[in-house]
C-alpha cells in the first residue's frame, strides 16, 4: 500500500526526467517535473481541468525496454499552461526509477 499526501508534494524531491512519454486522459503531453506522488504536466490543448480523477500513463525507459505505468491523478492546481496532479506511486521502487531518469542525477559530477 502506497500513500499519497498531496499537501506534502512540495516537500518531496522533484525530478527533471528525460526520455519519459506520458499521456493524460489519452492525450500526449510533457512532464515539467515530477515527485514520488505529484506531477506537473503541460496542459494539452482543449483539456479542461475539473475536480475529478484523470487517467495518466507514463512510459518509462528501463534497460532498453519501455515499462508502462498507469495511475489516477487528482488535480491540485493548474494555470493556463500546466496542471499539477497528485497520484499514488504505482510501484514500490517508483522513486528509484524516477531518480534513474533524472537529468541532474544522470550528469552528477563527483570528485575524482
Amino acid at each position: 500500500m502506497t500513500d499519497c499526501r498531496p499537501a506534502e508534494r512540495r516537500k518531496e524531491r522533484r525530478y527533471i526526467l528525460c526520455g519519459v512519454d506520458c499521456w493524460i486522459d489519452g492525450r500526449p503531453t510533457h512532464i515539467v517535473d515530477i515527485s514520488r506522488s505529484g506531477v506537473r504536466m503541460l496542459l494539452p490543448p482543449a483539456l479542461a481541468i475539473e475536480d475529478r480523477p484523470y487517467d495518466i500513463v507514463f512510459d518509462m525507459p528501463e534497460g532498453g525496454q519501455v515499462r508502462s505505468f498507469r495511475v489516477s491523478g487528482q488535480p491540485l492546481r493548474h494555470t493556463e499552461h500546466y496542471v499539477v496532479l497528485t497520484y499514488a506511486p504505482p510501484c514500490a521502487d517508483w522513486e528509484a526509477l524516477l531518480l534513474s531518469l533524472d537529468t541532474f542525477e544522470m550528469t552528477r559530477l563527483t570528485a575524482i
Binding site: 522533484r14 527533471i16 526526467l17 528525460c18 526520455g19 510533457h30 515539467v32 517535473d33 506537473r40 503541460l42 490543448p45 494555470t79 493556463e80 499552461h81 500546466y82 537529468t103 541532474f104 544522470m106 550528469t107 552528477r108 559530477l109 563527483t110 570528485a111 575524482i112
Partner: protein, 391 residues
C-alpha cells in the same frame, strides 16, 4: 615538442578536432558522381580544424573567447602527422591565407564569402562536438551537407530530448514570472529556445529572465552549451576516475629504475594530478552553481540567481569547452597507453613518455613562433596570426 602536440591533436575527439578532410573523403567515396562538399574553396575541404587556446596576444584572443579556431592543412594528406600549414582564424587572415594559397591570383568572391561565413560560425563555439556544431549552423540558418555533421539521428534525438527536458521547466517558470501574458504554447517556446533562430519569438522569456536583449542569443546559446557539456563531462567521468585511481596507485615504483628517472616521473605525475584535480574541481563547482540557480528559478521562482548565472554563462561556456577538450584528450591518451602501463610490464620509460605527453597537454598553451609574433607586431608579414610552424 610541436610535433608531439600535433599528434595529440590529431588523436583528439570531437571536442577538439573537426576532421573536414576525413568527411570529404567519405563524401567522395559515397557520392563520387555528385559530391557535395562543405567548403567552396577546394583546398579547405582537405583541412583539419582544431580548437585550442593559443598563448599570444596577437592571435586575437580575448578573455571572453579564450579558445581559438585553428585551420590546419597537412603538407601530405596521407600523413597529417608530418606537419603542414596552419592559421588561427580571423576574417583578415583567412582572406590573406586564401590569397597566399592561390598564388596571388584572383579568387571567387562568392566562394570566399561562403567559406568565411562557415568558418565564422565554427569560431563562435568552443568545441567541435557535433551537436554544438549542428545547433550553431541551425541558429545561423546555414546549410551544411549532412555527412559533415557526424551526428547519427538517434544520438541527436537523445541529446535534444535531454536538452528539452531541461529547457521546459525553465520556460514554465519564466512564463509564471512574465509580466504580460505569453500567447504561445510552452512547447513552441522550448523549440525556439533550443534553436534560437528567432530571438524576437523568445523576447518575453528574455525579459522575464532579465537578459539584455542584445545579448540574448549569445547568453542563451551558452546556457544550452553548458547543459550539453554537463552531459559530456558525465560521460567522461568514469574514464577519468579510472585514470585518477591508477595515478594514485604507485605500484609502478616497484619496477627497477634510477633515482633520477623516478624523481622525474614523480614530478610529472604530481603536475598532471594537480592540473586534473584543479580543473575537475572547478567544473564540479560550476555544475553545482548551475543546478542551484536552476532549482531556485524552477522550484522557488527566484529569478535573480539564475539571471546572474546566465550573465556569467558565456565565460563559463568557453572555459568548460576548453577543459572538456583537455579531459577528452587525456582519456584518449590514457586508453592508447593503458596496455603498456597497467600490469607487470610497465617500464619507467613508458611512464615518463606517457606523463610527458600529458604534461604537454595540460601545460601552457601552444604559442606562436617568435618570428610570427614579430611579423604580426609590425604587420609586415601579411598574416597577423599565421602559425605555419606551430605544428
Amino acid at each position: 615538442m610541436e610535433r608531439e602536440l600535433l599528434q595529440l591533436f590529431l588523436r583528439s575527439g570531437p571536442a577538439r578536432q573537426y576532421n573536414v578532410r576525413m568527411f570529404t573523403a567519405k563524401v567522395r567515396a559515397e557520392t563520387p558522381e555528385t559530391p557535395e562538399f562543405l567548403f567552396r574553396i577546394p583546398f579547405l575541404n582537405e583541412c583539419i580544424i582544431f580548437k585550442t587556446v593559443i598563448a599570444s596576444e596577437h592571435a586575437g584572443c580575448t578573455d571572453r573567447r579564450p579558445v581559438r579556431t585553428l585551420i590546419y592543412l597537412p603538407y601530405d594528406g596521407m600523413r597529417p602527422g608530418d606537419g603542414g600549414e596552419s592559421f588561427v582564424f580571423s576574417i583578415g587572415d583567412f582572406a590573406s591565407f586564401v590569397q597566399f594559397k592561390s598564388g596571388g591570383s584572383s579568387h571567387d568572391e562568392i566562394a570566399l564569402d561562403h567559406d568565411q561565413r562557415l568558418l565564422s560560425i565554427l569560431d563562435t563555439v568552443p568545441t567541435m562536438s557535433p551537436l554544438i556544431l549542428a545547433l550553431a549552423f541551425e541558429r545561423a540558418r546555414t546549410y551544411v551537407p549532412q555527412p559533415y555533421l557526424d551526428l547519427p539521428p538517434e544520438v541527436r534525438v537523445k541529446l535534444i530530448t535531454f536538452l528539452k527536458s531541461r529547457i521546459r521547466p525553465l520556460v514554465v517558470a519564466a512564463y509564471d514570472k512574465a509580466g504580460a501574458n505569453i500567447d504561445r504554447a510552452v512547447e513552441f517556446m522550448v523549440n525556439r529556445l533550443l534553436t534560437l533562430d528567432d530571438v524576437r519569438a523568445i523576447m518575453p522569456l528574455v525579459q522575464a529572465l532579465r537578459i539584455p536583449p542584445m545579448q540574448a542569443a549569445e547568453v542563451l546559446s551558452a546556457w544550452i552549451g553548458l547543459t550539453y557539456f554537463e552531459y559530456e563531462y558525465s560521460a567522461l567521468q568514469n574514464h577519468l576516475q579510472e585514470f585518477s585511481l591508477w595515478m594514485a596507485d604507485p605500484s609502478w615504483q616497484r619496477e627497477p629504475s634510477s633515482m633520477k628517472d623516478r624523481d622525474f616521473a614523480m614530478f610529472l605525475i604530481k603536475f598532471v594530478q594537480k592540473r586534473l584535480h584543479d580543473d575537475w574541481q572547478r567544473i564540479v563547482l560550476l555544475s553545482r552553481r548551475y543546478q542551484e540557480a536552476y532549482n531556485g528559478l524552477v522550484y522557488n521562482s527566484e529569478v535573480k540567481p539564475f539571471s546572474d548565472f546566465l550573465l556569467e554563462c558565456r565565460s563559463m561556456y568557453w572555459e568548460m569547452g576548453d577543459v572538456l577538450g583537455r579531459f577528452e584528450q587525456t582519456t584518449h591518451v590514457w586508453r592508447r597507453y593503458k596496455h603498456q602501463l597497467v600490469g607487470r610490464n610497465c617500464s619507467i620509460r613508458a611512464i615518463i613518455q606517457f606523463f610527458s605527453l600529458l604534461r604537454t597537454l595540460h601545460g601552457p598553451p601552444p604559442q606562436l613562433s617568435q618570428l610570427t609574433q614579430q611579423l604580426a607586431a609590425t604587420d609586415e608579414g601579411g598574416f597577423v596570426s599565421l602559425t605555419a610552424n606551430l605544428f
